[in-house]
Amino acid sequence: MKTCIAVQDAPLNATAPQQWLRDEGVSGAIVLFSGHVRDEDGRVEALHLEHYPGMTERFLGTIVERAGQRWHLNGAWVVHRVGTMRQGDEIVQVAVSAEHRQAAFEACAYIMDILKTRAPFWKKELIDGSWHWVEARERDALAAAAWLAGEPGHEPR
């Protein structure tokens, strides 16, 4: 399985994951999740993302490795943006390629669900001229827990 993992300040290239994963027919399926800054009904003027350099990249590598053990994947791409963004900007790309769609759909959802609840990123929103930390959501924790309940070993650290 080839992998590409990065954390960057620069805007994400929307077409890069597909181009990088294309493998002339070895994979019959490429699934891409592309996350964007929501404006929350026009309230959010900007979003700032902080992370734990070093741990973040290592942890994203661990999640991808776990996904590769669980599903037969040919490639995995995880690129996350940090710094200050505007509504509509792309924050994260998770893309996987596999022979068949089921593995690709599930592995993409798995990587995203674990990333959201375990990878060391924190969001702040600019609302009415002041910054507020975003609270973690219970439903994200439940989604990750559902995947990890089926994992034989320890959860990704």
């Binding site: 741990m55 990333l115 609840t117 375990r118 990878a119 060391p120 924190w122 930390w133 650290r157």
Partner: protein, 84 residues
């Protein structure tokens, strides 16, 4: 020496990014370290109280507050993550 790093709301509330300190006597776990920091620094105690739900990493690996500590460890304390 150990390093204690703070991120996001916990960094802002404590006004500290990183502490370098000798592992205090009688401190063998992350929970005991947090207790020791609360005793020794009022600002940190207030920051922990304002951030009751926390995550922990030891040497860049997610851990629990029960994790044991030794000299040279890098402990990171932060609020629940919100990436993606």
């Amino acid at each position: 020496m150990i390093q204690v790093r703070f991120f996001a709301a916990l960094r802002e509330r404590s006004g500290k990014e990183c502490l370098e300190m000798a592992l205090p006597d009688g401190v063998a776990t992350v929970a005991e370290l947090i207790g020791w920091l609360e005793q020794s620094d009022q600002t940190l105690a207030a920051a922990f109280a304002a951030t009751p739900c926390r995550m922990v990493a030891v040497n860049e690996m997610l851990a629990s507050e029960e994790a044991s500590l030794e000299d040279g460890d890098v402990v990171a304390l932060f609020p629940p993550v919100t990436g993606g």
